[in-house]
């Protein structure tokens, strides 16, 4: 359970400074506000693209958090020490993913009520299935994002490269999470034809978690 300690370490250092948490939370709120100018926020149609809107906000906020995931270890050569320590690459990676996952989930759960107030959406009756979608979607985003964060950590353009690589690759998860969220926020249950999206989301999580755990050692060790 070393990955748990890595995650705890990351969360502790994040909660002490709150630098990426504050930044990405305020960024998310700003984007939520900005979207209201793009269309009529009080219209009937809002529910139909609510999932897309919400997940775009999460994706933007997520990129900020994920950028910091490995970059946080750069000062004082902490990353070198972590890699040299007896912790395996997979454990280190899993710990970092879990930490980003928790942070991003917190932001999502703060954004959801704000979103409900701004756009007049009732989300409370479907909270539990919605939470399930959030868990699955966020896990997919963080597992892939943390891997790409490790991939780009040594680049000078890392803040640019991470979203550029991450967003297209993340589309399957993002797309299904958007659809499922829209269905739930419109007050419907997931079933019938929509199950394909749930399957896609779960498949994405399983495939990329396996791939990432298998390949992360090669990325970290040079």
């Amino acid at each position: 359970m070393i990955f748990f300690q890595i995650a705890a370490k990351d969360l502790r250092s994040e909660l002490r400074t709150k630098e990426s948490l504050n930044a990405s939370l305020s960024f998310a709120v700003v984007i939520l506000l900005l979207f209201s100018f793009a269309f009529d926020p009080s219209g009937e149609a809002v529910a139909e693209f609510s999932g897309g809107l919400l997940w775009l906000v999460f994706a933007f906020a997520g990129a900020l958090i994920l950028n910091r995931s490995f970059a946080r270890e750069l000062p004082n050569d902490c990353l070198e020490v972590l890699i040299a320590s007896p912790v395996s690459g997979a454990q280190l990676f899993l710990g970092k993913s879990v930490a980003s996952f928790v942070l991003l989930l917190c932001i999502e759960l703060i954004c959801l009520p704000i979103f409900g107030i701004f756009y007049n959406i009732t989300w409370t009756p479907k909270f539990w299935p919605l939470l399930g979608v959030f868990l699955l979607g966020t896990w997919g985003m963080t597992i892939l994002g943390t891997l790409f964060s490790a991939l780009t950590v040594n680049l000078s353009l890392r803040e640019l490269m991470l979203p550029m690589l991450l967003y297209p690759m993340m589309i399957p998860a993002l797309m299904s999470a958007m659809r499922l969220t829209t269905i739930l926020l419109s007050g419907n249950d997931i079933g019938g034809d929509d199950l394909v999206w749930l399957r896609l989301l779960i498949g994405f999580d399983v495939v990329f978690t396996t791939l990432a755990l298998a390949l992360v050692e090669t990325i970290l060790v040079r």
Partner: protein
């Protein structure tokens, strides 16, 4: 010697392409429902297959790089990806032109089209990542990992017409459907043009590979020049 073989294969590919163009334009009849526009299909589909082959080569050589740590595999992966992007662009744009006539819109946002575009963007990101890393082994290692991840989107593109209900025509070739849906002569043409494009792609990959060697020579000489 190697250069002559390359020129030879290139010439064969070029002649085959010209001959195919002649047959496509003058010998094969119009399609019953679509009219002349269906001829785009002889480039659209083979270009897609060629791009798939390139991506597949990139996947295999990336895995080989990670196991064998030979930079030559990395160079092949990069060359194949770049050539694959060129053919995927042919596939996308011919498809758009076809869609403009048959569907009345350039871009239908249907699952197959969207996935083909995502594939293109993902592999373009691969080339961008390569440009951003200077150290050759670091670059080879990271881009090999990215290439393996990217291939997931290729697999999804292949399966997209089965997973989602799409406007994109379903499989027509007999190896995919198990029955003869199109005229055998037309199907043969698809394969012949695929062969021509594949040969062309092969030549392009070897040329690009050769350029990568040149680049390495240049880098080596530069280092020597600095040392002097």
């Amino acid at each position: 010697m190697e250069k002559n073989i390359r020129i030879g294969i290139g010439a064969v590919a070029g002649l085959l392409l010209l001959r195919n163009l002649y047959v496509i334009l003058f010998n094969l009849p119009d399609e019953m429902e679509q009219g002349p526009i269906y001829r785009i299909f002889y480039y659209h589909l083979p270009a897609y297959f060629t791009a798939m082959c390139c991506y597949m080569t990139a996947l295999v050589t990336s895995v080989l790089y990670l196991t064998k740590r030979n930079l030559r595999y990395d160079a092949i992966a990069m060359s194949a990806t770049e050539v694959g992007l060129a053919f995927a662009a042919v596939n996308l744009i011919t498809g758009m032109i076809w869609g403009r006539v048959i569907w009345g819109i350039w871009w239908a946002w249907d699952a197959r089209l969207t996935w083909a575009l995502i594939c293109w963007l993902v592999y373009f990101g691969y080339l961008m990542l390569r440009q951003a890393i200077d150290d050759p082994t670091e670059r080879a290692k990271n881009s090999a990992v990215l290439s393996i991840f990217s291939f997931v989107s290729v697999a999804i593109t292949y399966k997209a017409i089965e997973w989602w209900r799409t406007q994109h025509p379903g499989p027509v070739l007999s190896f995919r459907t198990g029955q003869q849906l199109i005229d055998p002569e037309m199907e043969r043409m698809v394969y012949t043009n695929f062969l021509a494009l594949l040969l062309l792609a092969f030549v392009m990959v070897t040329v690009r590979l050769n350029q990568e060697n040149l680049q390495r020579q240049i880098d080596g000489l530069r280092r020597r020049a600095h040392a002097l």
